[in-house]
Symmetry: C2
Subunit: 208 residues, 2 copies
C-alpha cells in the first residue's frame, strides 16, 4: 500500500507536519466539534500555515477523514485461542480508544455522526469493524464449545463497548493517567462480569 | 416548590414560550453543541425575540441549565419488588433517554462535559442519580437474597447504561420510531443477558 496514494495533491510529504496537523485536527475536533472545525483553526493549533494544509488536503472534510483514518485506534480482530482472552483483548482496545489521545474525538463523533455525513461513514466503518471482531470471537468460541450457540453477539458487544466507554466517562479527569495503567485489569473485570457462569467449560469440569 | 423561584427576574411566565425556548435549546445543543449555543441562535430556532429570552434567563448558561433540568429525562429510583423488574425498568429509562427528544443532547453532553464546567456539573448530577438508583436496586436484591453480595454494582451499571446507549447508537435513524415501540422488549433482553445465571434463585429452585 503506497502512502503517497493517500496524499491528494502528490507533493513530497513532511511527516513531522503531517503528524502535527492530524494531531491538532483530532484535538480540535475533540474540543469543539465539527461546527468549529476549520482549516484555519487547525493551522493555528498546529502552528503551520494554512497553505501547507491545503497543499495536502483540499478541504476541512478531507483533512478530518484522513486524520481519522491515521490517528484513530482501530479495532483489530484478536485470536488468543480462548474466548476470555479474546474478549479481554477487545475490551482493552476499547478502553485504549477512549482514554487515548483521540478519546474525546471518539466520544464526540458518537453524537455528531447523525448530522455530519462524512463522520457518519467513518463511524459506520468503525462500528462494522467492532461487530466483525466480536462476531469472529463468538463464532470461534461456539466452534470450540466454550459458549452456547445462542449467545447474543450484538448485546454482548453493546455491553462490552458501552461498558468500556462508561467506565472511562465516569473516571474523573485527574484519575485518567492511573486508568491508562489499569487497562488490563479493568478489561479483565469487565469480561469476567459479562462471561459469569456463561462459558460452558466453567460449568462442566473436564472428566478425569 | 415554587416554579417562580427558578425564574431569575420574577416576571409572569408564559408556559408556551418557555416550552418553545427550552425545546429549541435542547435541539440546538443536540445539533451543534456548546460552541454554537447562543441566546440569539436559540431565539431564532424558537421564533421568539431575544428580549423574551433575556427576560427569563440572564445568560446562555442559565438557559441551558434550566432547559437541562426541565426537559431531560431524569433517572428515578424504581422498586418493583424483584431485581429483574427493577433493572428492566432502569434499562427502559435509559433507552427512553437516548431515543427521546433530548437524546442527541444527552449523547453530546458526554463528550463536552469535560470542557464546559456548567455541563460537567449537570452530567455529574445525572451520573450520581444513575449510580444511586443502581445501588439501591442491587442492595435490595442482596437483602432479598436474589443476588450474591459481591455483585459488582459499578460494572453492572456501566454495562446496563452503556449497553442501552450503544443499542440506540447502532440503530439507523430511520429505525428509531420502531425502537421507541420496542423499548420494553429491548430492555428485557439486555437485562436477561446481564443477569444470566447470576440470580441465586435461578440456580437454587425453592425446596418443596
Amino acid at each position: 500500500m503506497s502512502k503517497e496514494a493517500a496524499t491528494p495533491l502528490g507533493r513530497p510529504r513532511d511527516p513531522g507536519v503531517d503528524e502535527r496537523v492530524t494531531r491538532a485536527a483530532m484535538e480540535l475536533y475533540g474540543d469543539i466539534g465539527w461546527s468549529g472545525f476549520t482549516v484555519e483553526a487547525v493551522a493555528k493549533l498546529a502552528r503551520v500555515g494554512k497553505a501547507s494544509i491545503y497543499r495536502r488536503w483540499p478541504s476541512a472534510e478531507a483533512l478530518m477523514t484522513y486524520a481519522w483514518e491515521h490517528r484513530f485506534t482501530h479495532v483489530e480482530d484478536v485470536d488468543t485461542g480462548a474466548v476470555r482472552g479474546d474478549l479481554v483483548e477487545l475490551a482493552a482496545q476499547m478502553l485504549e480508544l477512549y482514554v487515548g489521545e483521540s478519546g474525546r474525538a471518539a466520544l464526540r463523533v458518537i453524537s455528531e455522526a447523525a448530522t455530519v455525513p462524512a463522520l457518519a461513514a467513518t463511524l459506520e466503518t468503525q462500528r462494522r469493524a467492532q461487530i466483525q471482531a466480536a462476531r469472529a470471537i463468538v463464532r470461534r468460541a461456539i466452534e470450540r464449545r466454550e459458549l452456547s450457540s445462542d449467545t447474543p453477539v450484538t448485546i454482548l458487544l453493546d455491553c462490552l463497548v458501552g461498558g468500556a466507554m462508561l467506565h472511562v466517562l465516569s473516571t474523573p479527569p485527574e484519575r485518567l493517567p492511573e486508568l491508562r495503567v489499569e487497562i488490563p485489569s479493568v478489561a479483565a473485570r469487565l469480561v469476567e462480569f459479562l462471561l459469569y457462569n456463561r462459558t460452558i467449560g466453567q460449568a462442566e469440569p473436564p472428566a478425569t
